[in-house]
């Protein structure tokens, strides 16, 4: 069963009126303290929908600047989080339609420029990447204690606004001043003696104010590096427009564990929705031939941020979400389509506009072996002319297209021979005058395998909370012409078939995680066990643990012996999330 936030609010109002009164936002007449003015550098808010929805609390000055709102720029996701907090904790009342309109408006007028958003696209794409804010490690550590740093870097604020953001944290979560949040130093961490002994305690009398508190240091870093006004935003807010996206687009994508994806989609306008679009997509997983048809509805925010959902109606939350970045040329879009209770399943996509000229978008194989003939390659694209010949298709030196097996406007199937003299390395593929850059490599032999992701995470679930599975993939590795591992000329050969297994990762002696965490299928998909205490496990522990995920690849040596190559990844199997903060309104 799933609890919606608004239901809780209603229940709360019924059960604890005193508590609600303490939280009531609308102050009694004569009791409201004077609000401060918006800053001089604030960006005006001119949309009457926003003014109407927010103006009862956020005053506007004679230059149309609203308190708080004008002093901040953010991504659509962060604006949605703010508005949801206004509704759930500050008694703001907005219909979903109004809320969506406010998100759209503010994401456009108080948003991020493309160059500001590009480094943190992983946040909206819900990608589990390794990312460190290199500008200041202390700020990164402090803000990452509770949530991804991407949420922080999706903000641009005046210095006072950064200060108010910190105050908001301390208001709602007073413990954040203490050791769990780390905003302030005061006093030793709990387990006082232990921490003191390790030299990690502050002064137990709670002082140490000579140095800046961690929250103030972070505020200084953020105010300096993520200010409200930036050259990028000044330029973009003047130039911003939503490109005319209607038309045909070629899809080239990749889903870990399932391989490359190719197809086409049509983008059309969406009646009654500003900067709204619909798509009708059809694509194929080239490894298996599985074909998917999917429609979606989307909105473009700030002229380049595509947010869509695989939905037929506006109220349908959609099983798949789309987060994409529209290049300024309006000719290419990149991003991620994702699904799953933890958004763990995703396709990395690149969309290229299909006009009249032929374009090449990719190949199904990622590696061609030297001294091998008749390797079959599917070349994907659009507008391939009916007159294409083998001579028009070029893989570069040492690779001969021996036969054009079939041809259609979207796909050519060719057989290629790779000579012994073909040099190893990444290759471009051209059809006529159209080229795709490095869709595959030429290699001599598989030197090793590797597992991706090298650090995986799964979450227990299935009884009360959803599972988060983790899909692993084994990829071949060639050491390149220098023959040395770990050098820049190493080649990624794409997925290889391996035998998957789990091994104990002994974080402690007597570790027994591998018996409890779950199982890995031969597709590389790890499915975690159920959540909750497990009475069959010592200490009534949960089925959590960390294990090695091992891929075994059988190669054959020159004299015919089977030699297994192994690679492994670390997998953390952990507890569910009991909160789901994900975006619900964007794109709808």
């Amino acid at each position: 069963m799933i609890t919606r936030g608004r239901w809780l609010l209603a229940a709360l109002a019924a059960i604890a009126p005193a508590l609600l009164a303490a939280n009531a936002q609308t102050p009694a007449p004569g009791q409201a303290p004077q609000t401060q003015k918006p800053s001089d550098e604030g960006i005006p808010v001119t949309d009457p929908v926003v003014v109407g929805a927010c103006g009862s609390c956020h005053a506007r000055d004679d230059k149309q600047r609203m308190t708080r709102i004008s002093d901040r720029r953010a991504t659509p996701e962060n604006w949605e989080l703010t508005i949801r907090r206004m509704i759930s904790l500050n008694n703001a009342r907005l219909t979903p339609e109004t809320a969506r309109a406010v998100i759209k408006s503010l994401s456009d007028t108080h948003g991020l420029a493309p160059d500001e958003a590009r480094p943190i696209m992983f946040e909206a794409e819900r990608r589990l990447v390794d990312f460190t804010y290199e500008g200041d490690k202390d700020t990164h550590t402090l803000c990452s204690r509770c949530h991804s740093i991407g949420r922080v870097l999706s903000e641009r604020r005046t210095r006072d606004e950064w200060t108010r953001l910190i105050a908001m944290h301390r208001y709602y979560y007073p413990g954040i001043d203490g050791p769990s949040g780390g905003f302030r130093r005061g006093g030793p961490p709990p387990g006082g003696a232990a921490a003191t002994a390790r030299g990690r305690a502050g002064d137990p009398s709670g002082r140490g104010a000579e140095e800046l508190q961690p929250m103030d240091k972070a505020r200084d870093v953020l105010a300096k590096n993520f200010p409200l006004i930036s050259a990028e935003w000044s330029a973009w807010s003047a130039a911003m427009h939503t490109p005319k996206l209607a038309g045909r687009w070629a899809i080239a994508g990749y889903q870990i564990g399932k391989g490359p994806v190719f197809g086409q989609l049509t983008i059309a306008g969406r009646a009654g929705v500003t900067d709204g679009f619909t798509t009708d997509a059809r694509f194929t997983y080239s490894r298996t031939g599985e074909t998917v048809s999917r429609k979606s509805r989307a909105i473009v925010y700030a002229g380049f941020q595509w947010r869509g959902r695989s939905a037929d109606t506006p109220d349908d939350p959609g099983a798949w979400r789309e987060v994409e970045f529209i290049e300024r040329s309006g000719q290419q879009i990149t991003g991620r389509w994702f699904t799953g209770d933890y958004d763990e399943t995703g396709i990395d996509v690149t969309l290229r506009r299909v006009a009249n000229d032929p374009i090449v978008t990719g190949t199904d194989v990622s590696a061609l072996k030297t001294s091998t003939s008749n390797q079959r390659v599917r070349i994907y694209g659009a507008n391939f002319p009916a007159t294409v010949q083998t001579a028009d298709i070029d893989f570069g030196q040492g690779v001969r297209v021996s036969r054009l097996v079939s041809r259609s406007p979207d796909m050519l199937i060719v057989d290629v021979d790779v000579s012994a003299a073909a040099r190893v390395g990444p290759r471009d593929v051209s059809v006529g005058g159209s080229t795709i850059s490095t869709p595959l490599v030429v290699y001599a032999k598989i030197d090793n395998v590797k597992v991706v992701p090298v650090a995986g995470m799964a979450r227990l679930g299935g009884i009360r909370f959803p599972k988060r599975p983790e899909q692993f993939e084994a990829r071949g590795v060639s050491y390149g012409s220098d023959g040395k591992a770990g050098t820049p000329d190493d080649l990624d050969l794409g997925p290889v078939n391996v035998r998957w297994s789990l091994e104990e990762y002994p974080a402690t002696f007597r570790d027994d995680d591998v018996q409890f965490v779950g199982a890995i299928a031969q597709s590389g998909l790890f499915t975690p066990n159920v959540e909750g205490p497990n009475p069959k496990r010592s200490g009534n522990r949960n089925n959590v643990g960390d294990v090695w995920v091992v891929a075994t690849y059988n190669t054959t040596t020159a004299d015919g012996a089977v030699k297994p190559l192994k690679a492994r990844a670390h997998l953390l199997v952990t507890v569910p999330l009991y909160l789901n903060w994900d975006s619900r309104e964007i794109g709808r």
Binding site: L8, S88, L579
Partner: protein, 112 residues
């Protein structure tokens, strides 16, 4: 080892190795250790941690983690991971007196 003197070449080599290794040890001790990896978004407040303990594993988590639910919930310890009692979910544990037994009565909360 200072009281023993090497009397042949092999022993000399052993002494050299030890000196080098000891020198290496001192340097290694002086450098801060590489921190473990934590997946993006995992809590880094290790009391004792929600997804992972301070070593990046699970051995340091409460056993079972349901022991910790009330503390986390009441203290708003992990506001991005466990519903907070103060703001978004004051009634989250309304039907759950001991989390180790009643955890099935807890809901997945969508704040706001």
């Amino acid at each position: 080892m200072t009281h023993l003197k090497p009397i042949n070449r092999k022993a000399h080599r052993v002494v050299d190795l030890t000196r080098r290794e000891n020198g290496h040890d001192v340097v290694a001790l002086q450098q801060p250790p590489t921190p473990p990896h934590f997946p993006l978004g995992c809590s880094l407040a290790f009391f004792p941690g929600w997804e992972a303990d301070s070593t990046g594993g699970t051995a340091g988590l409460c056993q079972p983690v349901e022991r910790d639910i009330f503390d986390c919930h009441l203290g708003c310890f992990w506001p991005a991971h466990v519903p907070d009692q103060l703001n978004h979910a004051p009634n989250w544990t309304g039907t759950c007196a001991t989390a180790q037994k009643d955890w099935r009565k807890l809901d997945l909360v969508f704040p706001g």
